[in-house]
């Protein structure tokens, strides 16, 4: 049938099974929004800002495993997506961003709201397209989804000129082919199995790739069969239930003591779907010195990029584990179990329970309804949440790991709510919340139930902590000096707010917040008063190794 470009786009999105789009209209996407209106088959969430739309599409993708979709107009609409696209790129989140652009007669003439968004997003997308011919539209959109959702997933941007949206051409519906991961080369597997079977003290590092490949059940089979402890990266949180006796907790700069101990004494590191970022391999040369490193990752460019591997396999983690599992021996490591248990006990004993945020987060994690996704912003609260808020299944954790985007949380929480149909818990700080608090308006407009735990300390906590450790307590520009009343702010946008002072009962306040959010189908902000001097510990300084973990700070 003959359709306009805008109609073809909507049809192609429907082909891909898109049911929710986050976006913001404007001059060069009028035709697309008109087609969306006429189609009536896709829910569109109008955000307060395009950045929020990009983060929402990202949050939606993280919790569903599907490709998130966002719309923006040309010029500033498109540039406002940039941080969201970069966030998805760094964390390998599948995203298709669709932007409009000026008509072909205006292109390259610095026209109103014209920007070279494909040029801008080259380094932060897997690939991008500018469509100047309506006949290329359908196949390009299909290809965009294929690129975003295959191999190492990531964002793709499609820029569609205004006249392409209006132009007509023949549209032939197509059913998208299921993206199948490439088969695993068997000869390499045998070597890996041999090394795994020969290891005395293995440790598994589960990264975001385990989640992306939906490989958590296979991971469980592997660590159970090997009787092997597992640590996870920030991106891998949820890959293993935190309640599992073999779960060591998080690895990295602010990873657990149990992980540091187990890693230090390990003879073999089995790294699954992880890229040894500088927040994990703080000293990339010494990270796995004298250890056998088995690295399995879907992206060949990650192999030997940061940490040199002994054996490697370029494969989807799920496919790799499926093929590897029959080749590894069942083990029982009783002595190691005892040790792991001791490490975990030490870990619990050294937890600083005087930290107010820690109490609030562990309590929230206990009280949150089953299946609530945890969403964080970036900074101290993010690390506290990663340390103390239990996430026991995959795809229930959204956090900006690679890019560390302050302001990510509010948009992502909206996306996570639409993706799961459940009530998200957003953990944020007053710095981060200030960056995208406008999206609270979106959450209210769409009646999204959500509990926002605002860790309110009046400072940029993580930056301040670094100033404390590395800059002799010269607190340059980290004191926010704001006198905003967050409870009143919440009420003013139509949400609910409640204060959790230092003397208030945590459990009671949180219960009230969860109940109210659920009942009224609205965001409830909990203004959690915490001290500016609470630190994220333990900590390993950049360039140092896992036997140099700092457990306490001398002068608070």
């Amino acid at each position: 049938m003959i359709l306009s470009g805008a109609d073809i786009l909507i049809n192609c999105l429907l082909e891909q099974g898109v049911d929710t789009i986050f976006g913001y209209p404007g001059g060069t996407v009028l035709d697309i929004y008109d087609a969306l209106y006429r189609s009536g088959k896709i829910d569109h969430v109008l955000t307060a800002h395009e950045q929020g739309a990009a983060h929402a599409a990202d949050g939606y993708a993280r919790v569903t495993g599907k490709t998130g979709v966002c719309f923006a107009t040309s010029g500033p609409g498109a540039t406002n997506l940039v941080t969201g696209i970069a966030t998805a790129f760094m964390d390998s989140i599948p995203l298709v961003a669709i932007t409009g652009n000026v008509g072909i007669n205006f292109l390259g003439r610095d026209s109103f709201q014209e920007i070279d968004i494909t040029g801008i997003t080259i380094p932060i997308t897997k690939h991008n397209f500018i469509i100047k011919d309506v006949r290329e539209l359908a196949d390009t959109v299909r290809r965009a989804f294929k690129i975003a959702g295959s191999g190492r997933k990531g964002p793709v941007l499609v820029d569609i000129l205004k006249d392409v949206q209006v132009a007509k051409c023949e549209y032939t519906p197509a059913v998208p082919q299921k993206i199948k991961p490439a088969p695993v080369p068997p000869e390499k597997l045998e070597d890996i199995a041999k090394a795994v079977n020969a290891s005395k003290k293995p440790i598994i590092i589960a990264g975001g790739g385990v989640i992306a490949a939906n490989a958590a059940p296979l991971l469980k089979e592997l660590y159970t069969k090997l009787d092997c402890p597992v640590t996870y990266t920030l991106m891998g949180k949820g890959a293993i239930p935190e309640t599992d006796p073999l779960c060591l907790g998080m690895i990295g700069m602010h990873g657990t003591i149990a992980t540091a101990r187990a890693l230090t004494e390990a003879d073999t590191v089995i790294a699954l779907g992880t890229r040894f970022s500088d927040r994990v391999a703080l000293n990339r040369d010494k990270f796995a010195q004298n250890k056998v490193v088995i690295h399995i990752d879907v992206d060949e460019a990650e192999i030997d990029k940061n940490v040199k591997s002994t054996l490697h396999l370029m494969a989807d983690v799920g496919e790799a584990l499926k093929s590897l599992l029959p080749l590894v021996d069942q083990k029982q490591r009783k002595d190691r179990r005892v040790k792991i248990e001791a490490f975990k006990k030490e870990n619990d004993a050294k937890k600083d329970t005087s930290i107010r945020a820690y109490k609030i987060l562990s309590e929230a994690s206990r009280l949150a309804p089953e299946g609530s996704p945890l969403v964080t912003d970036v900074g101290q609260h993010q690390m506290w949440a990663a340390q103390h808020y239990a996430v026991n299944s995959p795809r229930l954790f959204c956090s900006s790991g690679g890019l560390g985007t302050m302001g990510y949380g509010m948009g992502a929480a909206i996306g996570a709510a639409f993706g799961t149909g459940k009530m998200p818990v957003l953990v944020t700080g007053d710095g981060c919340f200030g960056m995208n608090m406008n999206e609270m308006i979106t959450a209210v407009s769409r009646n999204v139930p959500m509990v926002i735990l605002l860790m309110h300390n009046g400072v940029l906590g993580m930056v301040r902590q670094w100033q404390k450790i590395f800059y002799s307590r010269r607190f340059s520009q980290t004191d926010l000096k704001r006198s905003i009343d967050y409870v009143k702010f919440a009420e003013s946008v139509g949400a609910r707010g409640v204060r959790l002072g230092e003397r208030d009962d945590i459990s009671e306040t949180l219960k009230y917040a969860f109940e109210r959010a659920q009942k009224e189908s609205l965001p409830v902000l909990v203004d959690c008063e915490i001290s500016a001097d609470e630190n994220v510990l333990p900590m390993i300084k950049p360039g140092q190794t896992y036997d140099m973990q700092i457990e306490t700070l001398e002068d608070g």
């Binding site: 494909t118 040029g119 380094p123 897997k126 690939h127 060949e300 460019a301 030997d304 490697h312």
Partner: protein, 181 residues
């Protein structure tokens, strides 16, 4: 890190607008030290061939190839160092050539098999093709006469014999990955 040397990288890429930007952008972003790039369409108008001269160690070489290989517009990429290749570069150089100097310059041309392609009362344009070392040597001899301007095309390379980049299964990886397998 292994020692720094020069690597010749061949790549077949889709001949689309922006492909050069994508590739050079990758080099800038990752901090690769590129000595020259030459690119032009091939016998297939939809495909361009690039020859890249990289200065770096083996780590950079592997990274560059793997990162390029990930790009949607890159069809094949590989290092040609291990292959027996023909390397050629073209140089045009405009030299200061007063009438009394002309015969000297023409003599040099003869030795180096260079050609005079333009002559004016005060200048000459010389053209020479060869491997980069030959061009370097020629320039050294010509330099004292006064170079007014010059342009080199950058190195182009093709492997001798039956080898072709497009027919290599898995690209020149096989050669690169000799240590890994």
């Amino acid at each position: 890190m292994s020692e720094e040397k020069k690597y010749t990288i061949g790549a077949l890429v889709y001949n689309k607008s922006g492909v050069l930007t994508r590739i050079t952008g990758l080099f800038t972003r990752r901090g690769y030290n590129i000595e020259s790039i030459s690119a032009c369409t091939t016998e297939d108008p939809e495909v361009s061939r690039m020859t890249i001269i990289l200065k770096g160690d083996e780590y950079i070489l592997y990274q560059l190839i793997k990162q390029m290989d990930k790009m949607e517009d890159v069809i094949k990429v590989g290092c040609a160092n291990e292959l027996d290749c023909v390397y050629r570069e073209l140089l045009l150089v405009k030299v200061h050539a007063a009438p009394e100097m002309r015969s000297q310059i023409i003599q040099i041309n003869e030795i180096y098999k260079a050609k005079t392609v333009d002559l004016s009362p005060e200048t000459m344009i010389l053209e020479i093709t060869g491997d980069p070392e030959k061009l370097d040597a020629f320039l050294k001899v010509i330099e004292p006469y006064g170079i007014l301007e010059m342009q080199r095309t950058g190195v182009t390379a093709l492997a001798r014999g039956k080898h072709t980049l497009k027919d290599r299964d898995g690209g020149e990886y096989k050669i690169l990955d000799k240590n890994a397998d």
